[in-house]
């Protein structure tokens, strides 16, 4: 059994207009997402803004209610959990947010920020909680003296450490990390990434790591899912996905990332996608990527392809594309015949 199973998850935000606030449409932020996360692994969710990565993270934790689909954590149905059941579940599922400035209450001391969850869950005596907070601060590379200070006294990297200490306070099994290093400078980013790796080893944590930065996701993830307009278009073991991307969107994303090596940069051929990401309120018919896709054909405009395994037996590489790239040895080919595995089963 996987630690986290996400089945056909959907989150549609209503668009309300007019004085009567009637619903006139929906933003299809997450539209039928499937994936599983195994205990102790890091699943990376990557893609551009508007892809629905953060909404997946929040919906999994029920910080926002899903429109449809299911989430199970250790076999427990998260979507159906009652308030008190949810309280118990939340001890095991925590989150670290992107913005280390907005996610810490400026009027609270670090002691109270980090110890808040302990208090809410009524864990330990006042003195025990104090010891625990000091211990947590030391775990994330701060010192016990920092507990008496306020957030404004810390730099961005230190604040993110405080956010991590808060997430660790209840000994969770899984942490959703929503762009945890995006606001940090490169030299500080490496500190926080190393810290996350150490904590994962020490406490056997499972991470759902959300980021738009493909280099960071490659570095930290065991598996990676690429999202585009509310759908997962490709999901695979990290090394395989970066080495042999099959979906044209993944290929374009990878080729667009500038590499800090002038020789490599000069030799590279870049796939520059035309146009912008369409609005998730009005996603294209058929495959959501087809208006920007260099490989799009007639069939791509008919129905969204489903995720299917294309790789060698034993490889967990799934792609939602009628014309995925295939690899035989070092040979990359794209078949002109649509890939049957991605053809959706007609609904009866």
């Amino acid at each position: 059994m996987s630690l986290l199973e996400v089945r056909d998850l959907k989150k549609h935000f209503p668009i309300r207009t007019g004085v009567l606030k009637r619903t006139t449409g929906h933003v299809y932020a997450v539209d039928g997402v499937n994936f599983t996360v195994e205990e102790g692994e890091t699943m990376g969710l990557v893609g551009e803004s508007g892809g629905g990565k953060s909404t997946v993270g929040r919906t999994v934790l029920r910080l926002t209610e899903a429109t449809g689909g299911g989430v199970t954590f250790e076999g427990v149905d998260v979507m159906k959990a009652s308030r008190s059941e949810m309280n118990v579940l939340r001890r095991d599922m925590q989150i670290v947010f992107q913005d280390p400035y907005a996610s810490l209450n400026p009027r609270m001391r670090i002691r109270d920020i980090v110890g808040e969850a302990l208090k809410i869950h009524d864990i330990g005596t006042e003195a025990e909680r104090k010891t625990r907070v000091s211990e947590l601060l030391e775990t994330v590379g701060l010192t016990a003296e920092h507990a008496e200070r306020y957030p404004h006294e810390f730099s961005g990297g230190q604040r993110q450490r405080i956010g991590i200490a808060r997430a660790l306070s209840l000994n969770p099994k899984m942490i959703v990390l929503d762009e945890p290093v995006s606001a940090l400078d490169v030299s500080i980013r490496a500190q926080v990434l190393n810290l996350l790796e150490d904590l994962q080893d020490e406490f056997h944590l499972t991470f759902l790591f959300i980021s738009h930065d493909l280099s960071v996701v490659k570095h930290i993830s065991d598996r990676v899912a690429v999202m585009y307009l509310g759908k997962i278009v490709e999901i695979s073991d990290s090394a395989l996905l970066y080495d042999r991307p099959q979906h044209p969107y993944t290929e374009a994303l990878l080729s667009a990332v500038p590499i800090p090596d002038p020789h490599t940069e000069r030799a590279r051929q870049r796939i520059v996608l035309e146009g912008d990401v369409p609005s998730p309120a009005n996603p294209p018919k058929g495959c959501v990527f087809h208006p920007r896709c260099p490989r799009a054909q007639e069939i791509c405009t008919t129905a969204m392809p489903t995720l299917a395994i294309t790789g060698e037996a034993g490889e967990r590489h799934e792609v939602a594309c009628y014309f995925p790239a295939r690899f035989t040895g070092d040979q990359r080919t794209v078949s002109s015949e649509p890939f049957e595995g991605s053809r959706p089963v007609a609904q009866s």
Binding site: I188, N194, P258, P260, H263, L273, E274
Partner: protein, 341 residues
Amino acid sequence: MAERLLDIRDLSTHFFTHAGVVKAVNGVSFTLHRGETIGIVGESGSGKTVAAMSLMRLIPDPPGKIVEGKLMLGDRDLRALTDDEMRGVRGNDIAMIFQDPMTSLNPVMKIGKQIAEAIVLHQDKSKSEAWRMAAELLARVGIPDAEKRVDQYPFEFSGGMRQRAMIAMAISCNPDVLIADEPTTALDVTIQAQIIDVMREMQAQFDSGVILITHDLGVIAEISDKVMVMYGGRTVEYGPVDEIFYNAHHPYTWGLLASLPRLDATEKARLTPIKGQPPNLITLPEGCPFTARCPYRRPECRDQWPQSETVGPEHGVNCWIPEDERVALRAELRQFKEPAA
């Protein structure tokens, strides 16, 4: 040698605040030639934006002040110009593209009008002519339906299109110098690739000199000819792009390169962060601002700022470690790539 556009000598810009003097830029020098792109790289607070704003004389005074330095645009001394004369320089000779195209465009003014405004101001053109030129410029930076788009407001543009509009505005008066301050940082990576392409094309067409400010070493590697590495308001290293990436001499440059997670990594290796926190610009030491975080610091580092030392063609470094020791230290660094054959 191409025409020299800018010659900056010993620029220092400080901010006089209640908490103390914030020494944002301390003695920065560089030259920019026609057709050349200089990348200024550094982390937040390193002084890269303040240095660029000083060139435009856009430092809010008070609290900011250019306390020292010679800023030469061709044979004109920018510091000696009156405010009126300086307005003639901005947009016309030096133009700037900002990071956030949403806050740098006027939300209640049509895109076309914002572009035409600069043209009317700097070139003796009628309003209707300027409007037509605005549409042409938009088409040139790759905005489809430019004729229709000039009539729209910024909120009707996507992030990438707004940045294209900013570029159109910046090139409208054919400036010699283009300063781009984190032009792609707010954009998604596939849009970033588009914008970098547009910037490259525009530079080739107008043969301008570009100052590119960014924290992204990937973008630097892609489009810079020369690189200036800044830390704590100082230039710690300066040189041609290949020298900086393959033959760097400053411990901070090494640290930056080693701390990057890389897309082209073939195996999983632990990152090597730079220890410690970014410096406080009020309490900077007299000497090297990187001292506190430098693993190779020596007694003289904190109190004295080292002279720039030439270590290669147009390649300078400010560091107290003797050159032979630096080369030996660098050879030990795992992440340091040797130049490809």
